[in-house]
Amino acid sequence: MTGEVWQRLSPRMLLVHPVHEVLRQIPLLIGSVVLGSATGNPLWTLFGLGLVVGYGVARWFTTAYRIDAEEVRLRTGVLQRKVLSVPRNRIRSVSTDARLLHRLLGLTVLRLSTGQEARRDAAFALDAVEAGQVPRLRAILMADSLAIEQEASGQELARWQPSWLRYSPLSFTGLAMIAAAVGLLYQAGAVAALQDSRLARSGVEAAERFGVAASLIVAAAVVLVASVVLSVLRSLVTYGNLVLRRDAELLHLEHGLLRLREHTYDMRRLRGGTLREPLLVRLFGGARLDAVMTGVAGAGEASLLLPPCPRATAESVLSGLIAKPDAVSGPLRAHGPAATRRRWTRALTLPAVLLIVMAAVPTPIWVWPVWAVLTVCCVLLAVDRSRALGHRVDAQWLVARSGSLDRRRDCIAAAGIIGWTVRQTLLQRRAGVATLIAATAAGVKRYRVIDVPAELAWTIAAGASPWVADNAWARA
């Protein structure tokens, strides 16, 4: 059936496309409604609606895909025809994504990811196929890279626990959502409409009766509570029911209560992982895990393996994947006094400059305690950042840790490193340190080991890549 014929997407898309098209063309529809009522001829409105719906239906008829022995092709476009083709042996991962409307109709969007970083319009997506077909399609598409085992066998690496929610209240997603909503209201003119309304006036009066300071505090508290609730809810809806499973050489990640997302990765493309511990998550003993893979974007949702979860879980999953517990949790080699000094200088520059400014110009008395608090924060930051710096290298793995507000521990497979850079700014040359950058085809492409002693830089590189020590320039 998946022979060399063009196949259409699920016929149920005949229902979805028009709805999406209507949503996308709302300005056009409003225009046609206005035209219809202005001319007193409702046919205009119907015509506009018909055009949009017709376009949506036409999209189904003009989209087709075929899976050949060598490549997968997708033909799209109503007015501008386009054919995308992906060589099958370049498929690195298959992911699926079902939003609410798709799920109600039992449909799923299927995306292929290759080594290339596809721009948005060049991404290969089958929008949409029936959910029942997905395991079969995925088996066919990934079959070229490996012999697929039966579905749902294999070992479960991690499953979402309600206790993971404790890491979400402190994230900024809730605040971001509130800001976005306010921005939207503002754009839609709701705020301008409110400005003179009775509601706004009574609100202002109530605030004045209550006292301005008290109202501000109440407002801040409301925003804070709302942001916490939103963050927790979002985290629950996005990650509740997350399951990470490994079937032989395939890694499956599945999550989402409303919008269901599934990723399938080829384990042979795994070049390591990044444990990320943002400060607020770290304070509660949590961590998140990103995959470092060729053919998968290095940051953001595409590479996510585990959302904030207990550190032990993230560590055990990563050690299971890379089969090297030392790299994940073993002690690191510190970078020495010069690196520490540089962290302190950087953190204390801002307070020092402020101090000079404050001494030079007359400042109100309340500025001083603020400055003191800021200085203490900077000192803590410097301590934390210098404690974080460290690396570890052997013939299989390069491990580098850095950062405080967004601490990360990168574990990179030495075999995946295809180039080294030793970078020194003027100040680094004077301090006798260097930043070592490992280039790989996977993840974010460059992984930094910050401020290692300059005389050690090439030794570290050679520790992971023997070819660095085996050339015309190496000297013992």
Binding site: T421, R423, Q424, R446, D470
Partner: protein
Amino acid sequence: MQLIEPANPPSRKAPLVWASGAAIPWLMLAVGQLVWFIVSPRLPWLHATAAVATALGIVLFVGVVPMWRYRVHRWDIDTKAVYTRTGWLVQERRIAPISRVQTVDTERGPLDQLFGLANVTVTTASSAGAVRIVALDFDVAERVVAQLTDIAALGAEDAT
């Protein structure tokens, strides 16, 4: 373990090319300031400051930086790796194994053509791993490309 510095300097004409490349925008700025002075000669102190800033910029970027870069820039190739040193304020030494090379490109801008120079870019599967050897004499660049494509089994493996 240490790596000694790569042996080969870029073309002797390299500082000239870099200086002329920097001179063009700076001279346009200077001409702009001259026009500004002719059109509205009020606020002489402002004109003076701008003129001094431009003069300093020209001395630095047309005079000092090209010579500085020329002293830093080095490149070398052996049978297994490509190795370069670049930069001036921020200096980078970069090494990539020839077995992982994906493409070898030569590129010549208008100024390079004027002075008979070429730049060679050796790309690997990582966007962070491309090695650029800039401002080579054209015949040297051709030799480098020939040598690299000779050694590298281009396209033989996935190279990721």
